[in-house]
Amino acid sequence: MKRFDCLKAIAPYFRDELVVTNLGGVRHEWYALRPHPGNYHLQNLGLTSSVGLGLALALPHRRVVIFDGDGSLLLNLGSLATIANFSPKNLVHVVFDNGCYESSRGAPTATAGVTDLAAVAKGAGFAHTATATEIEDFEENFLKAFRSSELHFIVAKVEPGMGDVPPAPLDSQENKYTFVRYIEKTEKVSILGSPQSRGSDLKER
């Protein structure tokens, strides 16, 4: 099973959901399949799950989907305990587990050995965990999570390799502005405030 095929299978179901992607190939694949202002492409390895949690807690009425990786989550296993203790109803945590640090030339991660991330999540307190090795199984598990009102954790066991897509053109600052302006518009809130004056910023409090 390939990550790009997993993403292709689920992309048609997305409407106004918010997505946080991990550093690496998943960002480019997802951008190619679903270019949308509600995508936040993190330029950091490890904190995808935490940024997704912060977003889910801030906007409990919006569905948030995290596209994480095994190397990333292994850097931040403690986040599973934090997420599970809050168990946001609007959060779906997907981990594409290719068993290697693919963007760093492919050395194996701990999941290539004995580590089972779904078991780790279950131990951390996630009530719903699943591991998929076939596309149909992944799509079914994802849809169940996507349409439920409970926290879900899904490991997709994928082979290394990236879809044939162009690089996503957004840089981090641009992505931040695009995403924040989208949230400001759809949620009718002010996040950045006025750029030039303390006075107007104070008024917004």
Binding site: Y40, L47, S50, V51, L57, K176, L192, R205
Partner: protein, 166 residues
């Protein structure tokens, strides 16, 4: 930390518009963390590691919250990459309240090195900060730090010295 100082910090955070606080506790932060857990107007998120807290605060900001992170300086030293890649690079403000152990008058031999390294690391990250401790200077410092964080779209730190922590 004395309850009076903890109360002043929370009151100032609320006046500054902060509505979301991630914390990682320590003996000297206990009163503040427990009071934050009880505080109705603030979404309190206890975290497992400080680096994670910076990520959670950044996500909360993107979702419209005005976040702050409470931690000790030992934990702050864990956050450098998170601050660089998740906050400073895209331009996301997070107010940090950092307990500054290992400063002048420190009695615990294991805190001295962390205390010595805290300010140089803040400076290396180009993070503006102010050291405070007396009750009467805390409110202004927090209001000013949050104003700068929001206008500069960067993390800004308050170092809470021994006087605030004891």
């Amino acid at each position: 930390m004395q309850a009076e100082i903890a109360g002043e910090i929370i009151s100032a955070l609320k006046e500054a518009g902060v509505d979301f606080v991630a914390t990682l506790t320590e003996a000297n932060l206990h009163e503040l963390v427990m009071a934050l857990a009880e505080e109705k107007g603030v979404h309190h998120v206890p975290v497992s590691r400080e680096e994670e807290g910076i990520g959670i605060c950044a996500g909360a900001f993107l979702g419209g919250k005005r976040p702050a992170m409470v931690m000790m300086n030992a934990g702050f030293l864990l956050t450098a990459n998170a601050l660089a890649t998740v906050c400073i690079h895209p331009g996301i403000p997070v107010l940090m309240l950092i307990g500054h152990s290992g400063g002048m008058g420190e009695e615990n031999p294991s805190h001295g090195t962390v205390g010595m390294l805290t300010e140089p690391v803040l400076q290396a990250l180009h993070i503006m900060y102010e050291k405070v401790g007396r009750r009467e200077e805390i409110r202004r410092a927090i209001l000013d730090a949050q104003t700068l964080a929001r206008s500069s779209r960067r993390p800004v730190a308050i170092l809470l010295n021994k006087e605030a922590l004891r």
